[in-house]
Symmetry: C2
Subunit: 361 residues, 2 copies
Amino acid sequence: MRTLNTSSLDHLAVGAALLGAGGGGDPYIGKLLASWAIETYGSPQIVDPSEVPDDALCVMTGSMGAPTVAIERLPGGDELHLALLALERYLGKSITHLVGMEIGGINSMLPIASAARSGLPLVDCDGMGRAFPELQMCTPSLFGILASPMVIADAKGNTVVIDSADNHTAEKMARLITIEMGAVSYIALYPQSGKSLKESMIPRTLAFAENIGAVIAHARAKKVDPLAALLEVTRGVRLFEGKITDVDRRTVHGFARGVVSLSGIGPDTGSTLKVKFQNENLIAEYNGIIVATVPDLICFIEPSTGTPMTTEELRYGLRAAVIGIPCDSRWRTDSGLQLVGPKYFGYDLTYTPIENFVKPT
Amino acid sequence: MRTLNTSSLDHLAVGAALLGAGGGGDPYIGKLLASWAIETYGSPQIVDPSEVPDDALCVMTGSMGAPTVAIERLPGGDELHLALLALERYLGKSITHLVGMEIGGINSMLPIASAARSGLPLVDCDGMGRAFPELQMCTPSLFGILASPMVIADAKGNTVVIDSADNHTAEKMARLITIEMGAVSYIALYPQSGKSLKESMIPRTLAFAENIGAVIAHARAKKVDPLAALLEVTRGVRLFEGKITDVDRRTVHGFARGVVSLSGIGPDTGSTLKVKFQNENLIAEYNGIIVATVPDLICFIEPSTGTPMTTEELRYGLRAAVIGIPCDSRWRTDSGLQLVGPKYFGYDLTYTPIENFVKPT
């Protein structure tokens, strides 16, 4: 057990931005909310999954919808709390522990704010190990754990409980309600016991994200290559370094879809990289050959500082390094790939783990 | 208190078809379900609103969505019960009485099935006194009573609880979920005390509908003019008799919208009537002059038998009588007309009570 203070949040926000794999929303807004909640209610306790009693009632919290809207319309801080109260009411039981839904992006921070507000301990784990666009894309789905009953709340005090035996249906209904709520909502979902949490969730991802942020800060302070340090801490693969020559971005069915094109510099001079994204980066093609696919993480970094770059920030002319990071091994199973593999996102590809790709020469 | 048996259902179904004012769905399917429930679980008790204790917990039940779909995909009988159980769970209280949402159409029958299934008494009242297309169009809305918390259930066992402080928002969210559930859902809503029920609901509409059906059957058996008998029992106004010359029907935003045109016969020879509808009949124009508007009821009847005709049944060449029936006085208040008056349906008209119109000569 440890206490999370506001100074840890800076590192965590940087690490969570990287693990967003281009999506998940900039954690900066989430950090403001988490800082405010810590200053107002005190620091939340962070507990290791191994410390959670088997009979605990653990609930995921986070936001759903367009991160761009969350940035324009800040959550008031009580929406998540309202969601927790409504879920307790429906379950007829008290929640004992909070957990994060996704460590990537803004949803790394909201559970911290919620834990501070509610006084409940936050378990150091999450359900994605990165960011994904849909709520059934959580490791508990692979263990037969339902997202339902789940609660959706908005800033106007509306709450909706969805109780479905199918996580895809829950996602569809929650998406419709979220759009009606103004494109962003605050959710409490995947109620599960401490026993099942230890099996179904990805452990210690808060510590992992914080460590990534610390490594980047350290490299910057010591003026050493942040990229090399990052690759070491993430067991990542260097994919490319270049200048952005084009960003083709469209909004399709509420998702930010598009392609980023880069022209190589340094060792990649004369080569190109194309990265296709849907909120998150999905596929990387080096000189037309695929070198990385979802569910592995494809991440853009500002090369001189190691600062992660979200898809929204990418612009013509910017310099960027692109790295690949292996996803959690749960996603590499057949059922994991069915849920979040390239085929689900519309690419007729067989998944190859990023460390097995051979970059074309 | 009385017991409702299957023979009462026939009259009730005919009366409810008339009070559907063209919409609400054909009660025939509802009658089958109610008959089945009565045969399986026994006859439900019907209680007068005056018999309901002030501290009772009364809940409305019915279906939402396209009646045409309910006809194609019959409810299994347990969807409404599932909705009641989920509402009890969320409220943390036991429901003591059921009430109907709308006496017009299929929703006259579903609460009977639900009362038989659950063993709860059904109060002889409803929230519309006719049929309307949206769930905030219930008299309790006029008394500040919330539709929320409300439950939506489907045949696959999905349930959704909506808790909103605004009945228009509840309607919008429930509509989205209903479409996702396959265009029809089963709902439990407007939880209220017995005390508020006595003020907010339209009393004795089950008895009224049953009486309408009995009067039509009696006129048919005695070979007397069913139209005259109907006008007497409903305090109605004879608007027109003619042949249908055109039915222009479109589906717009999930509603059946259109215009029925008639050419007069008998005393109306040489005149025309146009009836505009959106699920229910909204506006009647006699030779281009408005002679009836929503919320008063505009109803089509097969003239020789007195059988009510829903909008779906209207076809070129059919003979029809058209009558107007005064709506409940609650709808004629400013707040009532704001909720269900012609302006809400997009007609820039001031409401005139049907009995005050002068038919052009």
